[in-house]
Amino acid sequence: MSSSSGPESQLNAAGLEQIEEIDQTAPRLRALGTATGPRERGGGWVTALWALPGTLWLVFYLVLPLVFIVLVSFWTYKLGAKSGFTTNWTLENYGTIVHSSTYWHNMLTSVYTSLIAVAACLILGFPIAYFLALKVHTLRNQIALFVIALAPFWTSFLVRSVAWTYPLSDVLGWFGVTTPSTTSVRLAMIQLYILFMITPLFFTLSQVDRTAMEAARDLGGNWWQMFREVIVPQILPGVVIGSIFIFVLTMGEYGTVLVVGQNYVQSVGTIVNSYITSAVQYPQGAAAAVLLVLALIAGVFAITRFSNLREDL
C-alpha cells in the first residue's frame, strides 16, 4: 500500500497534463480498442477483403434502409403503385404529420416517458452499480452477481412485457396502478432497460480511482462530498452513455408499448406502424419516422451536453 503510493504522490500537474495529451491522440482508436499487431504485408487489399462481408451486409441492411426512410418521406403516395409510392418529390407528407395533433401528442408523451425512464434508471440503477463495483470485494463474487443481474438481458423483451400485463394486473392494482396504462408501460420499460444503465455505471465505477476516494475521506469530506467531488466527475461518461441508451431505446420502443399498452397507450413507434401497416401510407409513415430520428438526435445531443463529451460523438 505504502510502497505504491510513493511514485503516485510524485505526479505533478505537468505530468498529468502530459498524460492528457497522450490520451487525446487517437480517441476513436482507443474507443474501439487498440489495434494490435504489426502492420502486415499485403496492404490495403487484404484488409479490404476482410472488411468486405461486414461492409456489404451493413450497407444493404442498415445504411440503405435508413437512407430510404429519408427518401421515401419526400416522395408521393400513390394508391395503385406497386411499391405504394412514386418518386415525385413533395413536402406534403411532412405537412400532414406536422399538422397532426395526434402525432405531436404521442411524440410529447414518448419524450416524457423516456425522460422518466432515464431518471428512474439512473436513480434506481446507481446503488446497484455502486454496490457491485465498490462493495463486493472478490472478483469472483463480482462477476457472479453481475451476471445474475444481467442475465435477463438475454431473455425475450416481449415475454417480460407480457409478464407486466395480465399476471401482475392485480398486484399493480394494490398500488393503484391500472393495466393497461401509461404508468404500467413506464414501469415495464424501467424494468426492461435498467440493465443498459447499470452496465456503463458499473464499468465506470469500477475504474474510479480508489486512492482519490480514500484521500477525500481522509481530508475530512463526508460521503456526500466525496460522491460529488470525486465519483460524479469520473463516472459522468458512464451516466451519459447509459442515458443515451435508455433514451434511444425507450423512444424507439414498439413491442413493449404494443403488448403492455394494448392499444390504450400510443407511442411514436405505434403511430409509425399504423401509417405503415393499417393505412399503407408509406411516405407519411416515413416522414413520421424521420421526425422520430430527429427527436432522437436532438435528445442524444442534449444528453451529451451534460458531460464534456466530444461534439462529434
Binding site: 504489426p38 426512410i69 425475450s156 407480457v162 398486484v171
Partner: protein, 330 residues
C-alpha cells in the same frame, strides 16, 4: 533485518497508531438488501408468470394464484388437444423450429461478420476508415429496431422485392448482433498476443497455415460468444421481425405476440413464455461454462472485471465504444 519495527520508536511522531477493529460496513448490508429487492423487481414478473403457468385448467390469468395446480398448460404446448379443447401446439412447433433455424443462421452470420470485420480492424485501417467503422457500428447499435424494419420494408418495396422473415428479418437481426459480436472480438484481440503468430511465421508456417493452426484455435471462444449473441438476440426478437410477418408461426416471439393480441389470453401463453425464457437462460449457462473453461485453461491472472467479462462488456458497447472520448477532454 533484525526486526527494528518492533522496537519502541525513538520519536513520538513515529508511534504506530492502532486503529480500532474494523466496524461492520452497514452501507454494504443496506446496499446488499437493496440489491436483493432489485433482483426481485427484475425477476419477479417472470417468476409470477411461471407460477401462473402451473394453474389448473380453470385457473385465472392474474396473480394471486387461484384454483389447483396442474400441468395442463404445459401439456398444451406439446399436444394438439388438452381436455378436449384445441391448443396452439402445431403453430408453436412450427414457430419454434423456424425460430431455431433462423437464430442459428443469424448466430453463424454474426460470428462470421464480426470475425472478418475485427480482422480488418486488427490489420489497421488505412485512411480514416476507423472513424467510419466507429460511426456505422454505433449506428447499428443505436437504431431502434422498429425503425430499421420500416426502412427495410420501404427499401425492398422500392426494389420491388417481397419481404419475408428469412430475407429481411434475418438481415435486420444480424445488424443488431454485429456491434455486440464486434466488441466481443475486439476484447479478444486486445488480450491476444500477436507474437505467437510471428513465432509461427518464423518457424516456417505460411500465412494461411498460421491463421488455421495458431490464430483460429486461440480465438474460437470469442467466435462462440459472437454466435451466442446473434443467436439469443434473434431468438428473442420481436420489433425487427413483426413487419415481415406472413403468418403467426413465422417465429416464436411473433407467435407469443399473436397469442397476446388475439384476446382470450390463457395460461398457455405463460407456459410458452416461461419455456422460451428457460431456453434463453440455458444458452447463457452454456456461454458461462465455456467462458469459465477458457479462464481455467488460460491460467493468466485477471486484473479487472471488464477484462474477463469480455462478453458482458459488449452488452454495453457504448461503455467500451465511447467512454474513451469524453475522458480525453477532462
Amino acid at each position: 533485518m533484525s526486526a527494528p519495527a518492533f522496537e519502541a520508536p525513538a520519536r513520538p511522531q513515529d508511534r504506530v497508531i492502532k486503529r480500532p477493529a474494523k466496524r461492520r460496513d452497514w452501507s454494504k448490508w443496506g446496499l446488499g438488501t437493496y440489491f436483493v429487492v432489485f433482483l426481485a423487481f427484475l425477476y419477479g414478473p417472470m417468476i409470477v408468470m411461471a407460477i401462473l403457468s402451473l394453474q389448473g385448467y380453470y385457473g385465472a390469468i392474474t396473480f394471486p394464484f387461484r384454483g389447483s395446480f396442474g400441468f395442463n398448460w404445459w401439456r398444451s404446448l406439446l399436444h394438439s388437444t388438452v381436455a378436449g379443447s384445441p391448443t396452439h401446439a402445431s403453430d408453436i412447433h412450427t414457430a419454434a423450429k423456424n425460430s431455431l433455424f433462423l437464430s442459428i443462421a443469424a448466430g453463424a452470420i454474426v460470428a462470421f461478420i464480426a470475425f472478418t470485420l475485427s480482422m480488418a480492424f486488427r490489420r489497421r485501417w488505412r485512411f480514416r476508415t476507423d472513424a467510419v467503422a466507429f460511426y456505422v457500428i454505433m449506428l447499428a447499435l443505436m437504431t431502434p429496431g422498429f425503425l430499421l424494419a420500416v426502412g427495410t420494408q420501404l427499401f425492398w418495396n422500392y426494389l420491388g422485392l417481397s419481404t419475408s422473415i428469412w430475407k429481411t428479418a434475418l438481415g435486420a437481426n444480424v445488424v443488431w448482433g454485429i456491434p455486440f459480436g464486434f466488441l466481443v472480438m475486439l476484447s479478444v484481440w486486445n488480450r491476444y498476443d500477436p507474437r505467437v503468430e510471428e513465432a509461427a511465421r518464423d518457424l516456417g508456417a505460411d500465412q494461411t497455415r498460421t491463421f488455421r493452426e495458431v490464430t483460429l484455435p486461440l480465438v474460437w471462444t470469442g467466435l462462440f460468444g459472437c454466435f451466442l449473441f446473434g443467436f439469443t438476440l434473434t431468438w428473442n426478437d420481436y420489433d425487427r421481425s413483426v413487419l415481415f410477418q406472413t403468418k403467426a408461426s413465422d417465429s416464436l416471439p411473433l407467435e407469443i405476440g399473436g397469442m397476446t393480441f388475439t384476446g382470450g389470453v390463457r395460461p398457455d401463453l405463460y407456459a410458452l413464455g416461461t419455456a422460451t425464457t428457460i431456453f434463453s437462460l440455458l444458452v447463457i449457462g452454456v456461454l458461462l461454462v465455456v467462458a469459465s473453461l477458457r479462464l481455467r485453461f488460460r491460467g493468466a491472472p485477471v486484473r479487472h472485471v471488464e477484462e474477463e467479462l469480455g462478453v458482458a462488456t459488449a452488452i454495453d458497447a457504448g461503455a467500451a465504444g465511447s467512454a474513451a472520448p469524453p475522458s480525453a477532454d477532462e
